[in-house]
Symmetry: C2
Subunit: 454 residues, 2 copies
């Protein structure tokens, strides 16, 4: 009864919800850029106001050593389960700006998609959840205890969240986590992610001289640092696409045949993947399918490379240094700290004597695998089945949500990954988008999911 009323409320208020979502997307909460510090703070306030509007009893903006966490709580009946909802209100930088069709912080709707930085990752998801709570709370008391943590540093690796959880362990006590930083499989196929990759992200700098030199006067006498860095990076994969850092695969949990069979049955095609990315051929570690490579195998990526003159025209410089941002995606049971040691070992083995090198670890988080058979998983699965009219698929995710492993470690609770992003949303790149019908189905799913919690 309360459920039907909540669903009706959500439908009646959908225009307002969409307008508020646009407001949220206009806030330039880029956590990694110091010049957006005030925007991030403004966004925290905006989220706190929204929780208050949704009827959450206690709302607080709680400081950390970095950007603040927005906390919310509504006590449920005695004996009812406690759900901790996780989300983040920060976003990635929006460059390259000139590849956006509409400006990244001026949301625009085209063909049922809303385009903006953060539309999918993850303002759309956490906002859908807040609107579901509002819709339910307007109809009466919630049948469970609700807690929210919405952080502002996920896109920079949640550097202060661990300390925050340690400090507020009692406050965050819960039976399970609903992590909204998640997605479904395709527009019409619901999914629940049960495994996530970890991340270890580094910056590597190579130097061969103390200053930039003239490439004619010195070319052929000093090792070119960009060339040296290229040689090092080229050597980080073998011909079969395997990462060559020493010991990199030692702790990787192998896929069993049952899980490989399940993955092989997922609705997926390499041709769709190519169409989505624009790649005319796929690539990766030999011996594994694309979905296995993304979800169950670790990878190493160059996220950025800079050396010398990169403006228009020609500058005949022999650069003094070259820099690469290099990150690895990890699977259970790899340890990010091991990767730092493996990268250093690789460099010690392979750096020519002509260069000096320096590695800085920028961010890291462990991978995670969740139990697929908990009551909360069942409630989520039921809600998705009702809304989408078909069984959700259970999938491994290539991305990293380090908070999931962190909450397993620190609070001893599993997360239900329930969100409505699509792999094709283009998150972290230009023209990020969210499929609007799924934003609204998301609100409906969250309502049914929460109504189903016992």
């Amino acid at each position: 009864m309360q459920t039907e009323q909540a669903l009706a409320y959500a439908r009646e208020n959908s225009d307002r919800f969409l307008n508020e979502y646009r407001e949220f997307l206009r806030l330039e909460s880029i956590s990694t850029l110091p010049e957006h510090r005030d925007d991030v703070a403004r966004t925290a306030t905006w989220v706190a106001d929204q929780l208050h509007l949704a009827g959450v009893s206690h709302v607080a903006i709680m400081p950390t050593a970095g950007h603040p966490v927005v906390y919310g709580e509504t006590k449920g009946p005695a004996g009812a389960p406690t759900m901790l909802v996780y989300g983040h209100y920060d976003v990635q930088p929006a460059d390259p700006f000139d590849e956006w069709v509409s400006p990244p912080f001026e949301p625009e709707i085209r063909d049922n998609y809303i385009y903006a930085r953060g539309a999918s990752d993850m303002k759309g998801q956490i906002f859908a959840h807040i609107k579901a709570v509002e819709s339910l709370a307007k109809q009466g008391a919630l049948p469970f205890t609700l807690k929210y943590i919405v952080e502002g540093e996920e896109e920079i690796g949640s550097p202060h969240l661990g300390a925050f959880i340690d400090q507020h362990r009692d406050l965050l006590n819960c039976d399970f986590v609903c992590n909204c930083d998640a997605g479904i499989h395709t527009e019409d196929v619901p999914a629940i992610t049960y495994a996530l990759r970890g991340l270890a992200y580094f910056e590597l700098e190579i130097r061969t001289a103390t200053k930039d030199l003239h490439s004619g006067l010195f070319g052929g006498s000093i090792h070119n640092p960009a060339q040296a860095l290229c040689e090092l990076i080229a050597g980080m994969h073998d011909a079969g696409g395997r990462v060559t850092l020493p010991g990199f695969y030692d702790k990787v949990r192998a896929l069993n045949q049952e899980e490989r069979d399940a993955i092989a049955k997922l609705p997926y095609s390499d041709d769709d993947w190519k169409a989505m990315t624009g790649a005319h051929a796929l690539w990766g570690e030999k011996g594994f399918s694309t979905l296995e490579r993304i979800g169950a195998r670790p990878t190493l990526e160059v996220n950025g490379f800079l050396s010398g003159f990169t403006g228009e025209g020609s500058k005949t410089v022999l650069p003094a240094k070259a820099m690469a941002k290099i990150s690895t995606r990890l699977v259970a049971d790899q340890e990010p700290s091991d990767v730092y040691a493996q990268l250093c070992a690789y460099l010690k083995q392979n750096c020519p004597h002509t260069v000096t090198w320096e590695v800085r670890e920028l961010t890291h988080g462990k991978g995670a695998i969740m139990d697929r058979k908990t009551p909360a998983m069942k409630a989520a699965s039921d809600a998705l089945r009702t809304v989408y009219g078909k069984d959700p698929i259970f999938k491994r995710e290539g991305g990293s949500v380090p908070i999931v492993a962190m909450l397993q470690d620190k609070l001893g609770v599993d997360s239900v990954m329930l969100g409505f992003a699509l792999p094709s949303d283009g998150i972290h790149g230009p023209n990020e988008k969210q499929y609007l019908p799924n934003f609204f189905r998301g609100i409906e799913t969250y309502i049914r999911f929460m109504a189903g919690l016992r």
Copy 2:
């Protein structure tokens, strides 16, 4: 007599000369950057005014399809030789700005060096020549016919100079060229360059997807373009430091033993070279000495590399593309157009099927070797010997002055490379400098050289 008076005039006016040199250095004549177009034009006017002040009879700023050429002419006695003086008034960009001790366009003198972009390459050199002409012309008629071309596009590869020469062949008719874009060996050791390397400069772009992707969601399924470009660049040299572009060495003129012996006798040490560059080890093609590698062997350099996110912090992007600026330095008798074909052939052979590539040629010029026994070479050698008190050494230069090969081809004349830059001046990099005592010795040398022309 006229010579001694001219030398006295130069000494008496040295303070003014230095002030005018500083004025010249303040002009931001960066030819490759469109936003400095007006500065380049202003600099052409400044040079024309200086030629007029120096007593050059006919001065003209002559348009090209790009930046203008400053032309000057003073007719000498019938039957006297004609010298065409070549110089350029444009400079390289000044980035990286934060590595300059004093701003690049605010010349500052420290320890007998003047620091500014263009101080050495080559405002100091062409200006010393103009001041030598002024000093001589004030004492009476010149004993030869003097012509000047001072161009504004050398640092972008002189794209319109060939057409200019073709169009004004009669005007530029001469017996030899004095090319001031040159240097000596060390502070006290005079030198004349008799060989120059050519240049072929390219921009290579690799694409694997149509947009930047999330490195977690897609990492392991799409070839990383930065990694692919690293692999291609790493393969462009073999373990012995030889360039692997197919056919790259086919036309290279071999060094004979006589010349190798002469190069081995030049005052040079690897330790000094390391101290000058800050490199703790040297690098290059096996089987050749450092001076041979720089002067007589072709090389391939990465001048710039850009892909993905290179700002502060961590962005988990799988870039869609990667770009490198790659240039080769060529020796006689390599053809720049051959190198374009060789690079394309290399890419066709080595590009994996997962990537698309595109090469653009940005600039090119041939290398050159000059006759060391002409009357003009002897006059230059005599002047240097008188001023420095020792015989000049004859050397091969690693840099490129494509105009030398162009004037050989189009006008059939050799160049005398007479300038006073030092290899340690840091040209094209931050903190470019010119040794001031050699600026003044340069004026004296040019005066004696011109007075010695018959």
